[in-house]
Symmetry: C2
Subunit: 498 residues, 2 copies
C-alpha cells in the first residue's frame, strides 16, 4: 500500500529497519570480505583453539536492554566468536562427521534469511525450490518420483521422521490417537549395535522404549549379521511381539561400515517390515559413480535419512528424509486446525504442505543453499570430492598398516580410519596413551580427529569428511602422530598399566 499520512506521523512509529541503509550496506560488504578472507586463509591457522579466559569474560554480559549498534555487535563477533570456530572449516579437522561448509553456500544463507520465507507449504517460491531439491535427491538416489520427502535439521530428525512413519504405517491400531500403550503386541525393531545413537533417541522419544530396539551383532567388517537378524525376528514373533522395522546403515559412525542393504531390503519385504536406512554418513556417496555400487539396496528403502550438511558440505543445518510411500508419510503427521484451513485461492492454495510431513509447522528456507549449491557446483563434483576423501582414507590406512608403531583397529571401507599409536610396544596402557595423544593433537592445533572405542580398545578416529583436506595433510598428520606419540611415551604417559 502506498503511504498517505504525513511524514511527521510516520516518524512516531519505529521499525527494525536501519535508519541508514548505506551504513548497513558498507557493513555487509565488510562481512563478506572478512568471511571470504577467513576461509581463504584458514589453512594457515591452528585447526582448533580453546577460547581463552578473557574471551569467556568478555562474552559474559547481561541482556542488552539498550542497543549497542550493528557495528559493535559485528566487532564483538569478529573478536570474540569468529576465531573460536569448532574447527571444521579447517583442512585438518577430521572429528566425528562434520561437514566443512563452502564460501558460496554461506552467502546463500544470507539470501534465505533476507527473504525469510516460512516454508510450511505456502504457494511461494521457497516451496517450489524445496520441491525441486527433494526431486533431485530422489533422482540421485534412485527413488521413485512419486516418493515424498522433507528437508530437516539433520540426521537425528531425519531418523525420527523415518521411524515415526515406520511406526505409524505398521501399527495395527490408531497410534496417533491412542498412543503406544494401546499396542496389542509390543512393537520392536532391529539394527546393528554399530547404529548411531540418534536411532535409539528417536525410539525413546516415540515412546517405544529403547528396549524395543534390538541392537544386533556385527561381523568382522562391522556389518549387521543377517543370521542374527533373522533369528531375532523369529524369536520376537514367537514371544508375541510385533516386529515392525529394520534399520540399515549406509555408513556406520564408528568405522563407515555399510550394511548389506540389498539383503536387508529383501528380508524386510519378506517379513513385511518397514526398511529404514540411516545414510547420514554415507548415502550421499551415491552421487559418485565409483562409490554408488557399495550402496546397492539403499534405493529399496521405505525411508532414507541423510545429511547434506555432512558430506555435501552445505552449511548447518541441512538434513533430509525421503519416504517411498507419500501417503504413509502424510498420514503420520498431517494435522488440521481452523487457523490452517486451505482456501481455493490465495496463498494457501497449494495442495502439499511440508508441515504435514514432519514435526515442524514453521520452517526455514534450508532448501535454498542446497538448490543454489547443487546448481553452482553440480552433483558430479560433490561425487568426485567424496571419492577424493575415500582415497585419502585409503592412504592413511595404508600408512598405518605399513608402520610398526601404529595399529589399524578396524577395516576402513569408506572415509573413516580408526587406529592407535603403539610405539615401542613396551607394556603400556594404550588407551591412556592414545587419549593423551588425541588431546595433544587437538590442543596443539595440528588436527582434530575424534576418539572412539572398538572391541574395548580406544581408537583415534579420522573421518575424512572435508573438501579442503589434501593428501599432504594426511602425510604430515602421520608424522605428527609419530613424533607426539613418541614424546608422550618418553615422558612415561601410559607406562603404568592401571
Amino acid at each position: 500500500m502506498l503511504t498517505t499520512l504525513p511524514e511527521a506521523h510516520r516518524r512516531l512509529e519505529e521499525t527494525l529497519d536501519p535508519e541508514d541503509w548505506e551504513a548497513l550496506r558498507r557493513l555487509g560488504h565488510q562481512m563478506v570480505d572478512d568471511l571470504l578472507e577467513n576461509l581463504r586463509t584458514v589453512r594457515n591457522r591452528p585447526t582448533w583453539r580453546k577460547p581463552p579466559t578473557h574471551v569467556r569474560e568478555q562474552l559474559h554480559e547481561p541482556l542488552p536492554r539498550a542497543g549497542q549498534g550493528e557495528e559493535k555487535a559485528y566487532r564483538d563477533f569478529r573478536e570474540y566468536v569468529l576465531p573460536y570456530s569448532t574447527g571444521n572449516i579447517h583442512p585438518s579437522f577430521w572429528g566425528w562427521v562434520i561437514g566443512s561448509g563452502t564460501p558460496f553456500t554461506a552467502l546463500t544463507e544470507m539470501l534465505a534469511a533476507g527473504m525469510n520465507p516460512n516454508v510450511g507449504g505456502f504457494d511461494d517460491g521457497a516451496s517450489l525450490v524445496e520441491d525441486r531439491v527433494l526431486d533431485w535427491f530422489k533422482e540421485g538416489f534412485g527413488f521413485p518420483a512419486a516418493a515424498s520427502g522433507l528437508i530437516v535439521s539433520g540426521g537425528s530428525m531425519a531418523n525420527l521422521v523415518g521411524l515415526a512413519v515406520a511406526r505409524h504405517s505398521r501399527a495395527t491400531f490408531d497410534v496417533r490417537r491412542l498412543g503406544q500403550g494401546a499396542a496389542p503386541q509390543p512393537m520392536v525393531l532391529y539394527a546393528s549395535r554399530e547404529t548411531h545413537s540418534s536411532v535409539t533417541r528417536a525410539v525413546e522419544l516415540l515412546g517405544l522404549g529403547r528396549d524395543a530396539l534390538r541392537l544386533l551383532p556385527v561381523d568382522a567388517d562391522y556389518r549387521l549379521e543377517l543370521a542374527s537378524l533373522e533369528q531375532a525376528i523369529a524369536e520376537d514373533r514367537r514371544a508375541g511381539k510385533q516386529p515392525f522395522a529394520i534399520v540399515g546403515n549406509a555408513g556406520t559412525v564408528n568405522t563407515g561400515a555399510i550394511d548389506d542393504l540389498y539383503a536387508l531390503a529383501a528380508l524386510a519385504r519378506r517379513e513385511g517390515l518397514h526398511f529404514h536406512v540411516d545414510g547420514a554418513i554415507g548415502a550421499l556417496a551415491a552421487l559418485s559413480p565409483e562409490l554408488r555400487g557399495r550402496l546397492k539396496g539403499m534405493e529399496e528403502a521405505d525411508s532414507l535419512a541423510f545429511d547434506p550438511h555432512k558430506w555435501g558440505h552445505f552449511p548447518y543445518e541441512a538434513g533430509c528424509v525421503l519416504v517411498r510411500d507419500a501417503e504413509a508419510h502424510r498420514a503420520t503427521f498431517a494435522a488440521s486446525a481452523d487457523y490452517l484451513a486451505r482456501l481455493e485461492g490465495g496463498i494457501t492454495a497449494r495442495g502439499e504442505r511440508f508441515a504435514d510431513r514432519g514435526p515442524q509447522l514453521s520452517r526455514g528456507f534450508k532448501a535454498l543453499k542446497i538448490w543454489m549449491g547443487l546448481k553452482a557446483t553440480g552433483a558430479d563434483r560433490l561425487g568426485r570430492l567424496m571419492l577424493q576423501n575415500v582415497e585419502q582414507a585409503r592412504t592413511l590406512a595404508d600408512r598405518v598398516v605399513r608402520n610398526v608403531e601404529l595399529e589399524l583397529l578396524a577395516p576402513a571401507p569408506l572415509n573413516i580410519v580408526c587406529f592407535r599409536y603403539c610405539g615401542s610396544g613396551e607394556p603400556t596402557d594404550f588407551d591412556a596413551l592414545n587419549k593423551a595423544l588425541l588431546v595433544d593433537l587437538q590442543e596443539s592445533g595440528v588436527a582434530v580427529p575424534s576418539g572412539t572405542v572398538l572391541e574395548g580398545r580406544f581408537a583415534i578416529r579420522v573421518c575424512l569428511n572435508n573438501h579442503r583436506t589434501r593428501r599432504e595433510d594426511i602425510v604430515l598428520f602421520v608424522q605428527e602422530v609419530l613424533r607426539r606419540g613418541r614424546a608422550l611415551q618418553r615422558r612415561g604417559v601410559g607406562r603404568e598399566k592401571p
Copy 2:
C-alpha cells in the same frame, strides 16, 4: 599445516573453495546490495504474488550433474525465487504468526554459515554464545539462572522438548527404556481447546496418543476455564489415570488470549503436575514493561516454549525452550556413546552438551543471529515494537467495532484481531463471503491476513506481528476490506445461503 608438496601435485586435488575468490567477493557484494534494496523498497510491491506458470516451468530442471556456476545460480534465484516470497517481509502481511526478519540479522546468518560450527556442545565460541543467549532469555523472563534451555527450530520443537521433559520427569517408570506401553496408569495432560496443534502433534509423537491431551473449554475471553480443569483432573484421578502436566497459553493462536498463568502455575504446584507454557505467540512480550504484567505466572513455568523468529523478528529458524530443572532436562535426553566420549582436554572438554538437551546431535549456530540482533538493537526496542503492534491491533479492533459493516468476532487482547465483513446485512452466507474476501485481499496483493473459525463462524484474522506495519496500513486495510467486501456482495458472492 603448511604445505610442502609441489604445486603440481596439489592441483590434482579439488576443493569446493572458489578458483577466483575475487569474483565471489564481487558476487557477495552484489547479493548484499540486492538484499538490502529488496527490503528497503518492499513497501512498494504487492504483499504476495503467486508464482506464475513460466516460473514454475523454469524451476523444473533435473538434478544438475555439471555445475552451472555461482553467477548463474544467483541469477536464477533473483529471477525465479526472490520475487515470490511468502510475503512476511512486507508491512501488510498479517497471516498466522510469522515474523518479518530484519536486514541486519539476515546478514548475521551468513556469518553463522561462514563459521559453520556444529553447536552440539564443543568447547568453542558458538557454544559460549548460545550459553549467553539462554542466560539473556532466563533474565528477560524471570527464570532462575540455574535453569536450562535450548535453541531449537521453532515452537513445535520447543513444545516437544518441554513435553518430553514433563513426561520423563513425572513418569513413575523408566519411560526411556520401557516406553509408554509400560505405564502403570495412562498418563494424561491438560490444555484449553484453543491450544496450538503443535501440542497435539508433540503428544502424538511421544506415543502418548492425542486422547491423553484433554482439550478443555474456554471462557468468553478464550482463556482456559479453571473449574473445568480442576474437575477434569479430579475425574481422571478417580478413573485411575495419572495427570502429569498442564499446558498454559501465553497467547493463543486464534485470538491471542493469555491463560491465567498465575492460577495455572499454582494449581499445577498443588496437584504435583509439570506446568508447561506455550509462549510461541506472546511470551516475548515480557520484554515490554507495558505488556509484561499480562504474562504474570509465566515465570513460574517448569518449561516455557517461545519463538524468537516470531515477535522477535530473528530470521527463520529460531525457537527456544527454557526448562526450570536443568537436571530433569538433561535426564530426558542425555545419551552416551563411545564416539561421543568426553576427554579431559581438547575440544570435548566442555561439560554441558546442547546435544543432551533435545533431539538434535548436530546443531547449527541459530544463537548467533539472536546474540548479534539483541546486542545491536537491545531488548527495549523489541519491547516497544511489540507494544506498537498491540496498539495497532487496538486501532483495528476499534475501527471494526465502530463500523456497522464489520463485526468483531472475538476479544483482541494482544496483537490478533478476528473479524468479518457483513456489509448490508442481507441474508447471506457470511462464511462464503469472507472466504472470497480473504482470497481477494491476498491475490490482489493488498494484504495477507489469514482465516480461522470462531464459534462456527469464519473469521478474517489479522495478526500484527510485523515491525514494518504502520498505523496508516491498518487504516488503508479497513478501506480496502469495505471496498472489496461491497464489490463481492454486489456480485452476489455469498448471496445464496447454502
